[in-house]
Point group: none
Chain length 238, copies 2
DNA sequence: CAGTGGTCTAGACCACACT
DNA sequence: GTGTGGTCTAGACCACTGT
């Protein structure tokens, strides 16, 4: 199993506490010296953890003053890499996974091209149906490069968010992603899975996700449009 | 005089060398130990400088391998504010406007809410059909706040890009926009306008655009999905 | 294997914000 | 002044990539 650095654990721990409300917006985190003692590590390690949280906008630091927990406004969170299930959870749905199939296959041509893989590369192909409040809402296929995550297995079939799994179990850092979105009418098969008439409009998205080691995942999503919308933040002008 | 930290000088120095071509894309920077000696500082300082360059995308680091100078270009033009017609032009289509109707009306409730307008505010309501290579592909409605652009008139009915017009004729500066995208099936009316069977999947987007004076425009687009897709760039992770 | 970057320590001094 | 974060050192050991 992968070794998780101290600063990463502390970062996760602090993030959890912020999300839980132990530290709420406007409050200050303990000082660096206090955190040193709390976690029993050196200041460098604490500072590295804190810098991650700053990068993600959870806290802001000011010399001589302290580190303040920020209001995470929704609009700031746009265009961040979020899994489908995370977005749904945020909207208050109870998210579950219905179907579930994992296989290890030679990368299909379209995946090879998207991820820049050589011939004969293996990918983990994960198929799922995501449900919101018990209702099927999304058909999801992930192709994960075995080159970057060699030993991918799902131990607990009840997991929901793939990204959380990858981050915590495999210590993966998601850097960026490019997503292309269009609409299609549900095919017969899709309509059967999602329990809607065929031809029902679906959002059809293809995403390449990059981690620190390069492109590692190709995702295909088909989402019931009636239940879902993408929010995008645009800024500036060429 | 301001005190400039060592790591900042080193960062600037390295960036200058990269821009000048001393270190060009594909090449590797000296190792951390070498840089330590070159600049006569500790490794921490070097690493801090390097981390800044990584953050800005100039270089990428890989454990056990080295720090490689990156190609800066890439398609970072994603998530900029672009009008529909501009995007289509970029893809090589010839864009024309077919239908065209401008009226000045009291802002409907959903527009008032979106733009934060008072009761009795007027908006310019512009309706158009955009064609790509002569084929209708998008039904477009703009609601432009009369508060910000009081004297909006279209002099030349052959104009194509609304944003270009606003920028050049009205000296407007577009700051940011939030767009929400989902999919619908074409209604009878929409199917007639776009010359497709009713029920054909359309991308349905609603956008609020902000200029330097606040929100000024609400746009509703219905696009033939078959001919169009949204590309989104996501970065970072909460 | 050697050489690279990744993590971590224990301690020092500096710059800034509060009161 | 006191206490906060900001910079920096010298050295240690780990983890990965290459040969």
């Amino acid at each position: 199993m992968t070794k998780i650095p101290e600063y990463r654990k502390i970062y996760s721990e602090l993030k959890r506490e912020i999300k839980r409300g132990t530290y709420s917006p406007g409050m200050f985190l303990p000082t660096e010296t206090e955190l040193e003692n709390m976690f029993g590590v050196s200041r460098t390690t604490i500072r590295k953890a804190i810098s991650l949280l700053v990068l993600e906008g959870f806290i802001s630091v000011q010399q001589g003053r302290g580190t303040e927990v920020q209001e995470v406004s929704t609009s700031q969170r746009l265009n961040q890499i979020t899994s489908f299930s995370e977005t749904l959870s945020q909207k208050g749905y109870i998210v579950t996974t219905r179907g579930f199939y994992l296989e290890h296959i030679p990368a299909p041509a379209f995946v090879r091209e998207a991820l820049g893989l050589e011939k004969d590369c293996t990918v983990h192909h994960l198929q799922r149906v995501q449900c919101a409040d018990g209702r099927p809402i999304c058909i999801m296929e992930n192709y994960i490069s075995a080159h970057i995550i060699p030993d991918f297995e799902i131990r607990n079939s009840n997991f929901v968010s793939l990204y959380e799994l990858l981050e915590h179990e495999y210590n993966l850092v998601l850097r960026e992603a490019v997503e292309r979105i269009t609409a299609i009418g549900a095919s017969f098969t899709e309509s059967q899975i999602l329990l809607v008439p065929s031809g029902t409009p679906l959002l059809f998205s293809k995403r390449i996700t990059y981690c620190d080691k390069g492109p590692f995942e190709y995702v295909i999503n088909k989402v019931l449009a009636e239940q879902y919308e993408y929010a995008i933040h645009l800024s500036g002008r060429a």
